[in-house]
Symmetry: C2
Subunit: 733 residues, 2 copies
Amino acid sequence: MSWMKPFHHAARILPSVQVVGTTLKLHSCRLRDPLSLVPACLVRPYSAFATSAPRSYAFQVPKSKKKQTDKMSSGTTLKGQPLDKAALESMLRRRMFYTPSFEIYGGVSGLYDYGPPGCALQANIIDTWRKHFVLEEDMLEVDCSVLTPHDVLKTSGHVDKFADWMCKDPKNGEILRADHFVEDVLEARLKGDKEARGQKVEEKEDDPKKKKKKAKSEAVKLDDAVVKQYEEILAQIDNYDGEQLGELIKKYDLRNPATGVQPSPPVAFNLMFQTSIGPSSNLPGYLRPETAQGQFLNFAKLLEFNTGQMPFASASIGKSYRNEISPRAGLLRVREFLMAEIEHFVDPEGHKKHARFHEVENIELAFLDRHTQLSGSTAVKKQTIGQAVKEGLVDNETLGYFLARIHLFLKKIGIDQTKIRFRQHMANEMAHYACDCWDAELLTSGGWVECVGCADRSAYDLSVHAKKTGAPLVVRAQLDEPRVFEEWEIQIEKKKFGPYYKKDGKTVEAAILATSQQERGKLAKELEETGKVVIEVPGVGDGKVEVSKDLLAINWVKRTEHTREYTPNVIEPSFGIGRILYSLIEHNYWTRGTEGGDEARGVLSFPPAIAPTKVLIVPLSNNKDFTPIVHKLSQKLRSAGVSSRVDDSSASIGKRYSRNDELGTPFGVTVDFQTIKDGTLTLRERDSTKQVRAEENKIIEAIKDLVDGKKTWQDIESELPLFEGQEVEVAVR
Amino acid sequence: MSWMKPFHHAARILPSVQVVGTTLKLHSCRLRDPLSLVPACLVRPYSAFATSAPRSYAFQVPKSKKKQTDKMSSGTTLKGQPLDKAALESMLRRRMFYTPSFEIYGGVSGLYDYGPPGCALQANIIDTWRKHFVLEEDMLEVDCSVLTPHDVLKTSGHVDKFADWMCKDPKNGEILRADHFVEDVLEARLKGDKEARGQKVEEKEDDPKKKKKKAKSEAVKLDDAVVKQYEEILAQIDNYDGEQLGELIKKYDLRNPATGVQPSPPVAFNLMFQTSIGPSSNLPGYLRPETAQGQFLNFAKLLEFNTGQMPFASASIGKSYRNEISPRAGLLRVREFLMAEIEHFVDPEGHKKHARFHEVENIELAFLDRHTQLSGSTAVKKQTIGQAVKEGLVDNETLGYFLARIHLFLKKIGIDQTKIRFRQHMANEMAHYACDCWDAELLTSGGWVECVGCADRSAYDLSVHAKKTGAPLVVRAQLDEPRVFEEWEIQIEKKKFGPYYKKDGKTVEAAILATSQQERGKLAKELEETGKVVIEVPGVGDGKVEVSKDLLAINWVKRTEHTREYTPNVIEPSFGIGRILYSLIEHNYWTRGTEGGDEARGVLSFPPAIAPTKVLIVPLSNNKDFTPIVHKLSQKLRSAGVSSRVDDSSASIGKRYSRNDELGTPFGVTVDFQTIKDGTLTLRERDSTKQVRAEENKIIEAIKDLVDGKKTWQDIESELPLFEGQEVEVAVR
């Protein structure tokens, strides 16, 4: 089958992959293999920030509850108007916030370019993020390679587990994401049933492309029992693995509406982009699916840079890549995206207290905890983070501190506070090593979108890399009192050991030293009884290595320790910048009627600090006398650190201001004939369209205070004389 | 041969590639194929910013002259001391400026992670770049996808031409870059000759790894004629193609010193990282080798965003990727790197004047023009850019404007002005369509390094993409007077044309419409005489398509035009941020002796605006009374927009300051017992190690003025009382 190529391909490039049976089997086996080193639940995408839409904003909320959410999610503007998504999207395209990449070549789905306003918006979000987290908390920012060799992502579990299930339509060759396909067909049948019963059916706002492809509902009444079964399946759609999805397809005879045939059984598709590093093609690599691994690998150096002091956090801003099977939903699911991730390293002893927790403890958040979700409700509970940690709702202070800081960050950039909730992962949604995990979700016209994940990942990541490489990714802390104890001690006969195992020596030694006290006890017994032990050493031979007692001794010894060695736990706040950016746009969008009333005009009310451009300078006409004034003003604003743009096009003043309302520019300065006479300028505020008039220096000072957040527009209105010159209200083209 | 895999691989993934003969032949043919659409000289890496070392800092400077340069390039510090590169590198590693990526997994050559100081330095360079270029010039910044589909890079010429020549040692499998190999062996022989003649041989400072691998010279005397031949070959090493390099290897019996055998004939190795986009594996793609293509593809939208006004520039900051055959030389040749590129679009008519040229015309630059280079000299000529453009040394004002702006940028971030030169590309080094091209080169211990390329690329890029896609990447300008003229007009019989060519219709039509007036004249004749014409349409059938006269008419018609349509020319300044960052470090590095005189202490004298951290806060000891003072100070600095770090480790004050001299932190504030009494603090300046003492607010104000560049340390010394407290001079570990 030609479509199996990607797997053959993988097997060919990756010499370390053992092909077992057919390629198809290889993958489906692996994902369920109980003996696999990394259980499925360990894999990050399902625990941290995920790009996959259903996981991101549906998770395991019972379907009936999801529907409630969807009703809300038809979307409202900043002013509570119903959100006309088509109008918004057309505006964003027209103003080049973002645009499909390579559009003149037909485009590539899941890839977008940011145009000037989108790029500036992104830079301002990042700048605020850096100030709010990195500078405020003295985090150690790093910038690590995107190209990542196979071994690193094998250890982290991504090579084996970072996959979605896909099916192929045998008739037209269409590739379907299995869970989406099952969901779409069952939803269509339920909709048809409702129509047949004469119930009102809510049309879900959605991507037009998706709508076209979607299973068309026919008004066919179903048995009540069948309806119940379908609803139960939909409620736990994210729980099924590939085999189970395949069984559902067969059992309910789910057919691709485009062809009327059943798709093939689901196979796993790894979501990482694969490449080959260097000329000899023997170093397979991937584009990183997250920035976190680079931070983990540098842990020892970062700890040293921090003069050995704990706790501390590293941070990284950079692109990550996920080869989505069928990306849709615009910026919400893409193949190349900007992430900002923090790894906060903390001593697991001492309840993960946080020294600055008192600064945030009175901040109120909207919590949707796991018990509420299991009870079938999506009702949020408002509570201070201090109370939530005290009650044990949030596991520890450090996690709680970051939830509050995430909330403050989202508030600062202009996210609507009524459209944020913190949703707790349910037990079976969370990796087994994690203590607690919360997502900051933002409400958009597409429903609740996971924009920030915040997980307590315990010592998992550092442990697996340390085990694989033998690198000491640990902290040595001075003990107040020396500790005396007995334990199993490994002694390796170095002189014989190295020559015996040759190139594998280090790996075997690392595996031996990585054994637990309990394991050592058993090994000591084995060694005494049989004169040898068998150690599991993945990657060496068949994975099992025999070590005889002339190479190894295991003794029960008394020891005194002055230091304690531990692997830090990691609290990981992980931000999807593109999703935040898109939500921010929706949250700040509204429309105002024109004077004629024929066309609504879009406005993006970004806070000044986040707005792509702060000031629009508008000369009244192309009169030559305006030029030096405009030039000087723009220079002065620049040296005051305020970004401005000049619009000296021939469009009317009103049209030029409207264009900039759409771009979210908060202030406008008009240069007119009065300016030539007395040096005064008018200053217009975007949201109220009110204007004041004053001389240049006062206007610049006012703008600077507004942009820095030192004054509000109300302050300025009360300080400077209002200008009643009519703003010509012309509808934008 | 197993090492041919990358080429088989390429041919397999890219269905559009036609395999001709053996794969080896395929590639070597292509690069020399005179009928190929894109001649080798069109390819950007050889005209714009190149990562390949010999091209970057050797080019075609006659070898004897290069040696002169190399003598200089043993390197000096900021204070003119001989640069101890090993000491600098050890310091950079210790302070985690950068570190090999994935080091605990053994590392991957050509990939580096930036640690906290490197990351902050990079962010400050980028921030300054954005202010200096994007904000100052109202450029349209975009952020485009790194993943790029095959077709785009096929059109740009990268798929066929973006390659280096590589050989393989048949004995040990080592892969060698052919030009480097020839160079190394001949240089070793010349060195051996010198030794045999008893001449002094200068040891070139170089990468230790390289040195090990390098051909070892043996003291063997050569014929004078042979010496001359070798020198001539080395002088033009960048001029040889693969076949010629292969001939040199055979003719002079060049053998790999590691094995004593001749390597195999050179084959082309494409430098792009290849991947596959989407699940079906049918969309081959690459990681972009430059950010420029995304900007070109968005030209029409950017022009519209700019309300149709010309000239304008777009800009982009982002990572690019080149799969170097054998990267070495640290940050100077890497596989993943940050670029900042500007594409300035300008009307080719009117001599490319620039409205702000008068602002820079008196700036003096150091020029190394092509005539000087051809005459065998590397003597630079200092001249104002105004004079250089007037004399025709620099082709036009726009190009000249950017050269001056590049110079000002490099000066602003702290590049040593005596270590910048602008080197003009020689005629055979430049793409045929380019009018002029200059590189800003910075002098480092490794010689002159190309850090910024600045080329006038004419209309090449927009033209090839327009031709391929049919997208109108043009500007329509209003004419002052309507133009009346006669020309050949194409008329396509749309109703028949589409159904006849089916899916190829658009491509065929685009090819017909892309014909020049001269070609149309010929086609009209052909059509009249034979009733059909044959059009070249690459990618359709065998590349030739027959069009009969019932589908097409070509008439000589009279027309009146009110607008003029033109394809803008592009002036492209292209910055390699990693190279600039490394050069900046070398230019700002120096050492001062300790009091004992036993160990030199490193200092990085970055300008305050660029320094990773601006202020170090040092409590005298871990006395609890200092904590609230330190906390408040750090808060106040933060709200003044100044980044600081606290070092409350137990190291001595002197040691803590020394550590921060190595990090380039320009200012230090000590909190001592006097502070508790009277609220005064000491402020230390890194370069002079002098200190002043004043109360908190005055110190904060002084720091802010220093960081903003409003005051110098001399100003502060004259304003605030000097503090004579002894700084304990302790050698850093």
